[in-house]
């Protein structure tokens, strides 16, 4: 695969948190390539830096050093409004705690990313219908999140992530707040989306879910490590 096709390229990505006395390296020199259409799991113990990495991939946070190339554009040092635009067009977020907005209906929640683009109402309606259809939640469009079960809420959240046709879906422990049956259902849904061509990056520390992915990236103390290395580190 040639260089141009890489959707995400990270080179020497570093994130340091400073406090008065100490500096903590959350990420130290991450090198990573993710191709279009890949399904990648990031796993590792709590505190290994995977959530920080996901925040940076999602342009919610910016790295202290290193480059981040998304769709051939360097995005590590964009200003706030440029980053908001890329989040809106290129990225779909799925959170552990669903994060649907309680005052808005299912439909309005899904519509939200499109409203930030100034899209016409009729087109928004069509796109939302399509996305809700895809996750099997079209019949609950007028409900409020509080009227849904956790599994249903996460489906709506997936529809919201999909609706803007982003280049990549970022999922942060998407099954973390679900029981195993609902968790499996959400994993199946992601798998199906992947087969339809979606690029997915998922953070999890559950090895069973990591197996759904094409590839698993293991992290430890802010670094990417080999699977073989894990055993020795954990010993």
């Amino acid at each position: 695969m040639s260089e141009q096709h890489a959707l995400i390229t990270l080179e020497g990505l570093t994130k340091v948190f400073y406090t008065d006395e100490v500096e903590t390296h959350a990420l130290s020199g991450i090198h990573l390539r993710i191709e279009k259409g890949e399904y990648v799991a990031i796993s590792g113990p709590s505190g290994c830096g995977k959530s920080t990495l996901l925040s940076i991939l999602g342009l919610l946070d910016s790295p202290t050093a290193g480059t981040y190339i998304l769709n051939s554009n360097p995005v590590q040092s964009l200003d706030l409004s440029q980053r908001a635009r890329i989040r809106n067009r290129e990225i779909g977020f799925i959170f552990q705690s669903f994060n649907l907005i309680g005052d808005l209906t299912v439909f309005e929640n899904v519509e939200l990313p499109l409203t930030y683009r100034g899209m016409a109402a009729s087109e928004r309606k069509a796109r939302c219908g399509e996305a809700l259809e895809k996750v099997g939640m079209a019949h609950r469009a007028k409900h409020l999140p509080s009227q849904l079960s956790g599994g249903q809420q996460q489906r709506v959240a997936v529809a919201r992530a999909l609706v803007g046709k982003p280049s990549v879906l970022l999922a942060d422990e998407p099954t973390g707040n679900l029981d195993s049956k609902n968790g499996e259902a959400v994993m199946d849904l992601l798998h199906e989306l992947h087969r339809g061509g979606a690029t997915i990056v998922m953070v999890t520390h559950d090895p069973r879910f990591a197996r759904h992915a094409d590839r698993t990236i293991h992290m430890f103390d802010g670094r990417v490590v080999d699977e073989s290395e894990i055993a020795s580190l954990s010993a």
């Binding site: 809106n88 977020f93 959170f95 994060n99 907005i101 930030y116």
Partner: protein
């Protein structure tokens, strides 16, 4: 609660100065405005009158007042009263002898007066019954103020002889400073017999008021029944002076404050609203804070804190806020008290009793403690009452939607209230400005005037001497450096008395249409009065040297007079006959001029029909009082002393009283309007601040509540602007809803206030538009800080679950 709770509370407040400032501000505003107004209400309505058992004191009122013989007939017929006294306020006397002659205000009182009030003198004695015998030596009791100012507080003043309008009187006592029943600054008290023997003889001389002290067991109803019976008897006995005159007893406190009581109570109500609304603002601020502190409280619970300890900790913060906010509020109330009172109209009763005293302090302290403690405890109780697990796991955040809506409604109501007050204040301000801009018909700037009265003892009926003296005073005044002209008038503009009253008997030629009433005023003049005042001659001529005693009697009428009696025809050369109230003889005059109308009585009302005549041609000889007025090139205030000295050069014994400038008099006449406009605008300002605080507090609260939601929106691609817009939108919504609610109320209030408006109607769009615009602008300011904070939100922190 212990000391470390307070220390930690102080540290927490210091760490969030924005919150501390807003909360202290909200409290200080409520408590400050509350205490300031409460001090007025407390002083005027609640502080007991400075007399023993004041509840037994009763004013006995009769329409048109009562004469001494009539009032003295009441006493034996009304056994409900333990004692009763007749008194006459405002009896002017010239105090001469030692020092400069001055005009003083005496009260003529029956000796019983002091017994009724239960007042003891500070020095010497009060009046006794013997002092009121005809032929008894004249004695006087001094007020504390006169004693201090005129006699330097000399205790040797007792027994000194004064000269009061050329009659000798001996000082027998001095009253204490509190003894000032009506706040009208009486200088001394004399018995009726010492004033004039005429009072005790004439039933038609209705100049007196009466005050009585009820017997301990007597009721007002019984007193009323007895007084009704005696007034019936008097009506039968003396029908000429007593027909249809009802006597009504009123409790003294009611009599003094009855007029202002509803106004003050309404004011107190408004203040309670301000306090309640400040409390609501404080509650929103504290709710926003408790949303942020939920986790801290939960950790403390997990570490073993009992409910009581947590409550103590939260209350420590409330206490601190209460002390800071309440202290600041009381301090501001105390600091602005004098300014507030300076604005109060002069006819507000019992002003001397208004002060930030223990009662007001207690009011402020209780209000601030209640607000601070209750509103800090309530939101915390919600957290303390639940399991800490929920808060520790990041669930259960947020407040029930009911509280959201309640807070929103409070703010909408605040904005609506501010709108009503602002619009009302705007209307009143325009009304005040219209009143100030009303054409006066004369030029008030650069004028100075003073009143004098030539005493009978020295001038008697000597017409020649009176005329000479008046002319000489005008001459002396005109010669003062800085004076461009001087004149005499019996009544200057904006004097409610307006001249000598009388009736027009007939005119030649007669009026074409019937004229309502025949009343008119006569104003005597000497010198170039019209020129001095800048009054325009509409027709004919002004008086000149040829208009002397003995020459053909002439008159100049004002335009109103001319228009009503002669319509479009010129009155020049017309003849009219006039009769005054004291003498039935008609007096004939020829009209030689017409002068433009002036504001003769008040700014709002048109002048009387007026006849101006030369002083030299006055009708009767006892018309020996009036005003000496001058026009100056520079500041008239600088000539106060000079004007008095000019009078003394003519008569060294003659005081000039109530020296005034017409500019001041114009301002006084719009003082009530200015005060209402200022008061309402003051409240509007308070309302505006409250509304700003409310909008700010609710937005701060919502921001805290919605932090996570805003984080999610950021993740979905919302720009900083989008978040700011959400918060600003909320602010605008509150403001617009408030304005929509307030608009019909404001229009209704404006309509209801029509009768107090001058030169402006309730349909004035400008006032409403200005109110709406200023509210919107102010809401925008209140919105700015929370909106900016929303725009700077860090998505990673906002999204963190734990």
């Amino acid at each position: 609660m212990n000391a470390s709770d307070l220390v930690h509370a102080a540290r927490r407040l210091r760490k969030s100065p924005g919150f501390a400032a807003s909360a202290v501000g909200a409290l200080a505003l409520g408590v400050g405005v509350g205490s300031a107004v409460f001090s007025i209400v407390s002083g005027v309505l609640l502080r007991p009158l400075p007399f023993p058992e004041p509840e037994r004191l009763v004013m006995i009122t009769r329409e048109g007042d009562v004469s001494l013989p009539d009032g003295r007939d009441w006493r034996p017929a009304a056994p409900a009263f333990e004692s009763m006294a007749l008194f006459l306020r405002s009896w002017s006397l010239d105090l001469t002898g030692d020092g400069e002659p001055i005009r003083i205000a005496a009260s003529v009182v029956e000796p019983e007066y002091f017994r009724v009030l239960g007042a003891a003198p500070q020095l010497g004695r009060v009046l006794v019954d013997d002092d009121d015998r005809v032929g008894a030596p004249h004695v006087a009791v001094l007020s504390h103020a006169l004693w201090q100012n005129r006699f330097g507080g000399d205790r040797g003043v007792l027994g000194r002889s004064l000269v009061l309008s050329d009659e000798p009187a001996t000082v027998v006592g001095v009253m204490g400073p509190e003894f000032d029943l009506f706040g009208d600054e009486t200088d001394l008290w004399i018995a009726p017999a010492a004033a004039t023997p005429f009072f005790a003889q004439e039933r038609g001389s209705n100049n007196f008021d009466a005050i009585g002290r009820l017997k301990p067991e007597a009721t007002l109803a019984r007193a009323q029944a007895e007084l009704l019976a005696v007034s019936r008897t008097l009506e039968a006995q003396y029908p000429r002076t007593n027909r249809g005159k009802l006597v009504v007893p009123i409790g003294l406190a009611d009599f003094l404050t009855g007029d202002v009581r509803p106004v003050l109570l309404a004011l107190l109500g408004a203040v309670l609203v301000v306090i309640a609304v400040s409390g609501a603002n404080l509650a929103s601020l504290l709710l926003a804070r408790s949303a942020a502190r939920r986790e801290e409280l939960a950790i403390r619970m997990a570490l073993g804190a009992g409910r009581r300890r947590l409550l103590a900790q939260v209350l420590a913060e409330g206490l601190l806020l209460a002390v800071l906010g309440g202290g600041l509020g009381l301090f501001c109330a105390w600091g602005t008290q004098d300014a507030l009172l300076a604005l109060a109209p002069a006819d507000l009763p019992r002003q001397q009793a208004i002060a930030i005293d223990g009662r007001v302090f207690a009011f402020g302290a209780v209000a601030s403690l209640l607000l601070g403690l209750v509103f800090s405890a309530v939101p915390a109780l919600q957290v303390i009452g639940s399991d800490p697990a929920a808060a520790l796991q990041g669930a259960g955040r947020g407040v029930r939607p009911v509280e959201h809506r309640a807070l929103g409604l409070v703010v909408v109501a605040e904005v609506a209230l501010a709108f009503v007050l602002l619009a009302g204040g705007g209307l009143l301000l325009q009304s005040f400005r219209a009143l100030s801009g009303v054409p006066l018909g004369f030029e008030p700037r650069g004028t100075l005037g003073g009143e004098f009265s030539l005493p009978r003892s020295r001038y008697g009926e000597d017409r020649e001497k009176q005329t000479r003296t008046v002319a000489a005073m005008v001459e002396q005044a005109a010669a003062l450096p800085g004076v461009t002209s001087a004149a005499y008038t019996i009544a200057a503009p904006l004097d409610r008395r307006g001249g000598l009253g009388g009736t027009v008997l007939f005119q030649v030629p007669p009026p074409q249409r019937p004229v309502a009433g025949t009343g008119a005023r006569v104003r005597l003049l000497h010198g170039d009065y019209f020129g001095l005042m800048g009054m325009r001659m509409a027709e004919g001529r002004a008086f000149d040297a040829g208009d002397r005693a003995g020459s053909e009697p002439v008159a100049i009428v004002n335009e109103r007079f001319a228009r009503q009696f002669w319509g479009e025809r010129s009155p020049l050369g017309a003849r009219l006959a006039y009769r005054d109230f004291h003498d039935g003889t008609p007096y004939f005059m020829t009209v030689v001029g017409v002068v433009a109308d002036v504001k003769g009585i008040t700014l709002g009302a048109p002048d009387f029909r007026t006849i101006y005549t030369p002083y030299e041609q006055r009708r009767v000889n006892w018309q020996a009082w009036g005003n000496l007025v001058v026009r100056t090139a520079g500041d008239p205030e600088a000539l106060r002393r000079g004007l008095q000295e000019a009078v003394w050069r003519v008569d060294p014994q003659l005081p000039l009283a109530r020296v005034y400038t017409l500019a001041d008099r114009v301002a006084e006449h719009s003082a009530r309007e200015r005060f209402s406009a200022l008061l309402v605008l003051l409240f509007a300002g308070v309302g505006l601040v409250v509304a700003v605080q409310g909008v700010y507090a609710v937005l701060a609260f919502l921001l805290e509540e919605r932090r996570r939601e805003l984080g999610v929106r950021l993740a979905l691609g919302a720009r900083a602007m989008d978040l700011a817009r959400i918060v600003a939108g909320q602010g605008a919504l509150l403001a617009v809803a408030g304005i929509c609610l307030g608009a019909p109320l404001a229009v209704a209030a404006g309509w209801a206030a029509t009768h107090v408006l001058f030169g402006v109607t309730w349909q004035e769009p400008g006032a409403y538009a200005a109110a709406a615009l200023s509210l919107l602008a102010v809401a925008l300011v209140a919105t700015a800080a929370p909106a900016l904070r929303a725009a700077r939100l860090d998505p990673v922190r906002a999204l963190r679950t734990e």
